[in-house]
């Protein structure tokens, strides 16, 4: 019975409480705020489990970025004056039963683990030195499960295409409207002038230490995206048109270089996504750098939403 035990129990109770309130509250805005708080609490829980990489991702993507997307959705719904529709009873029942089944499955997996928990962790730690990386999470992401990581980045681009395809025909190729988030305001402008230098340094640092310590492309990219969005929302910089060649290039350059290095693996190391020995670390760091750029731009444009108007020349 140490103090950390009480902390953990308190944290778990708090997470369950906030999670429940996300579902129960009636107003969509309050639910989104509860969801963001839930994400931040979950990040603390991951730190307590010594999974700092996951904690950073949860705070940046789960709490921050998803929260921002949901807030944008709520604001757009408000503008569109959609009347509240209630789900029919059978739909509610199906949703409830499915959720209960998932929860029961997870509970069984967590509460009744097999006698010997299957794990590849010792093998990862044993062979990590070969890749030159110091962070086992980065090792798994870029060496052992590189294909998953590559596809994950492509999924982000597909999601962005999904958002863009919501644009009306007349606005295709135009720029996203960020007015749903905030009116230009001198306080916001001040923040947008003060924060980006700090945030950009932190974002680049997170990407750079990813090879050795917790951090990486997704976390760093999310911080950079947040800075970019701050500047755009404060009205200091206009969002780019989605047809802008530089925008499209920076979106695809990360996955494209990752794929190119993966294909080069056929020639240099006899397998797709394999790295020639001795060059693994520099190649992985290079991939991480371009991925950070692509992720930052993709996340920023995702939150900025579909294009709304064509820029006046």
């Amino acid at each position: 019975m140490t103090i950390s035990f009480f902390f953990d129990v308190g944290l778990a109770v708090l997470i369950l409480g906030v999670g429940t309130s996300t579902i129960i509250v009636r107003s969509a805005f309050a639910a989104v705020i509860a969801f963001v708080v839930y994400g931040l609490l979950l990040a603390i829980a991951w730190v307590r489990l010594s999974a700092v990489d996951v904690a950073l991702t949860e705070a940046a993507i789960g709490g921050g970025m998803t929260g921002m997307l949901l807030l944008g959705a709520v604001a757009r719904l408000r503008l569109a004056k959609v009347e509240e529709t209630r789900m029919s009873l059978p739909a509610c029942l199906v949703a409830g039963v499915s959720c209960a089944l998932v929860a029961a499955g997870l509970a069984t997996a967590v509460l009744l683990p097999p006698a010997v928990v299957p794990t590849l962790a010792p093998m990862v730690m044993e062979n990590l030195a070969q890749s030159g990386l110091g962070n086992p999470v980065a090792g798994v992401l870029f060496v052992y499960r590189a294909l998953d990581t590559l596809l994950e980045k492509v999924v982000v681009l597909l999601a962005l295409l999904g958002v863009w395809s919501l644009a009306p025909d007349s606005a295709w190729g135009g720029m996203p409207g960020l007015r749903v988030y905030a009116q230009p305001n001198s306080t916001l402008t001040f923040l947008a002038q003060l924060m980006p230098p700090l945030g950009i340094v932190v974002g680049i640092y997170m990407c750079w230490v990813g090879a050795k310590d917790p951090g990486g492309a997704f976390q760093g990219g999310a911080v950079l995206a947040a800075m970019w969005l701050l500047v755009m929302i404060a009205g200091l910089e206009r969002p780019p048109s989605i047809s802008h060649p530089w925008l499209r290039l920076s979106l695809v350059i990360g996955p494209a270089i990752f794929l190119a290095i993966g294909l080069a693996g056929f020639v240099l190391a006899n397998a797709f996504l394999a790295y020639p020995s001795g060059y693994a670390k520099p190649m992985i760091v290079a991939v991480e750098v371009v991925l950070t750029l692509s992720i930052a731009v993709a996340l920023g444009m995702l939150a900025a939403g579909p294009p709304e108007r064509v820029r006046q020349q």
Binding site: A182, F190, L191, M195, L198
Partner: protein, 97 residues
């Protein structure tokens, strides 16, 4: 020496916790949005300030201390600005807007 520093830590962190408690009570009990914001900003400034001050002697080296102080400064900045933005929105649209 260490004992003195430990006592200082305990005293300062407890003072910080007291401000957090007071801020939370204010958040729950104050009548409208502006007074509630007032209560919450005290927690940012003084509560977290005392906690950081109390933890300073426990850090390993000046870099740890610098990190703690910068976290406090960043929270101060974001807290102050978000409070201004919320208060501005309340003045413009009313508490339900």
């Amino acid at each position: 020496m260490t004992l003195g520093l430990d006592i200082f830590t305990i005293a300062a962190v407890s003072a910080g916790a007291l401000f957090f408690l007071a801020g939370t009570v204010g958040l729950l009990r104050f009548p409208d949005a502006l007074t509630r914001l007032h209560a919450v900003t005290k927690v940012d400034n003084l509560g977290l300030g005392f906690v950081v001050l109390g933890l300073l002697p426990q850090t390993n080296g000046p870099f740890g201390a610098l990190k703690l102080v910068s976290i406090w400064l960043l929270v101060q900045l974001s807290g102050a600005i978000v409070t201004q933005l919320i208060a501005g929105a309340v003045r413009q649209h009313g508490p339900r807007g």
